[in-house]
């Protein structure tokens, strides 16, 4: 999967590395800003009221 992704990134090695880094940061941002805030209230960890 990741090897396939790497082969399909354009440009020479440093450019690919840069694009890969941007992709990783983008995915983490998506998780932190959208996915986790949505998922957290649905999980049984943090309800504090009675």
């Amino acid at each position: 999967m990741y090897a396939w992704l790497w082969r399909h990134l354009p440009g020479p090695r440093p450019v690919r590395a840069l694009i890969a880094l941007v992709l990783i940061v983008g995915v983490i941002a998506l998780l932190m800003l959208v996915v986790f805030p949505w998922a957290e209230p649905l999980l049984p960890f943090n309800n504090v009221s009675v």
């Binding site: 090897a3 983490i28 998780l31 209230p41 943090n46």
Partner: protein, 293 residues
């Protein structure tokens, strides 16, 4: 991320070999990815939510301070409640301070216990009494993440002070005796000066006829016990007329830590009301007066 060798050196692989290899490798990569995502989620819950909540609490603190200053001023405008900055869901009306957690421990108290409120800081159960009133001033707060104001709630002991600050007053509540202390309370009370005004709220022991028979300093209850913040905890709302009710405070958070299977409940009783003017509006002076320094 470096490219892994896809073909073995010098060994010609059949198509079947390669397909199997690909499936296993992709499955492995997905599992590793899932593990990393879970670790990121833990990081989000324990740290990222703290950063955003700290910022919200800071803004709430500034807004409350400004609103109280305006109330103090002689020329307070009629609409002192509104101000130029966008308050969002911020509805702070009081401040909670717990000397046992250090002199700097303070959070604004929101009016409401929804997720939006509790993200900013501890929240007041809207149906419960206001600070200092007879009845039960109920407050919920997070124990992990989102600032975790009540993270150390389990470390409070009997007679520890819980200070609720309003525009004009410090209301000093103290944690009620724990279950195992009820029987010998008179002896404990005489030994510890901070307990002088803390009663067990019981006339004749633990009988079911005692309205406060189930009210102790700390309890673990199931999440459905919304009567923990009833005017008389764990009793019908009308068990006592309002003016015969003790002025209590009740703090609730999740239990055990990192789970919401149960709730940790701390009950306290009002022991003192100190007008802010009496201590020059200074929490440090109040602490001195309470003997907490």
């Amino acid at each position: 991320m470096s490219q892994r060798p896809e073909r073995g050196n010098g060994v010609r692989r059949t198509a079947g070999h390669r397909a199997g290899y690909l499936v296993i490798r992709t499955a492995g990569e997905l599992l590793i990815t899932a593990g990393v995502v879970l670790l990121l989620f833990v990081f989000y819950t324990l740290y990222v939510t703290n950063w955003t909540s700290a910022q919200l609490q800071r803004e709430s603190e500034e807004r409350l301070e400004r609103a109280w200053d305006e109330q103090d001023g002689m020329d307070a405008p009629a609409d002192a409640g509104t101000d130029s900055t966008d308050a969002g869901t911020d509805s702070a009306f009081a401040r909670i301070r717990i000397p046992a957690f250090g002199p700097d421990y303070r959070y604004t108290v929101q009016s409401g216990v929804d997720a939006d409120h509790l993200e900013i800081g501890p929240g007041h159960y809207p149906q419960s009494a206001m600070p200092g009133e007879p009845g039960n001033f109920g407050v919920a707060g997070h124990r992990i993440g989102r600032g975790a104001p009540f993270t150390d709630l389990d470390e409070l002991g009997s007679c520890d002070a819980l200070v609720v600050e309003t525009a004009t007053n410090f209301f000093v509540y103290r944690v009620l005796p724990f279950d195992e202390e009820i029987d010998g309370w008179e002896a404990i009370r005489q030994r510890r000066p901070e307990c002088a005004n803390v009663s067990t709220l019981r006339d004749t022991g633990d009988g079911p006829g005692e309205p406060y028979g189930d009210t102790v300093g700390r309890r673990i209850v199931t999440p459905d016990r919304s009567d923990a913040v009833a005017p008389v905890p764990y009793r019908e709302v009308d068990v006592l007329p309002r003016l015969e009710q003790a002025a209590l405070i009740t703090l609730t958070t999740c239990h055990p830590q990192y789970s919401d299977r149960e709730r940790l409940i701390v009950h306290g009783v009002l022991t003192q009301q100190v007008p802010k003017s009496q201590v020059q509006d200074d929490y440090g002076q109040l602490l001195e007066q309470l003997g907490e320094v």
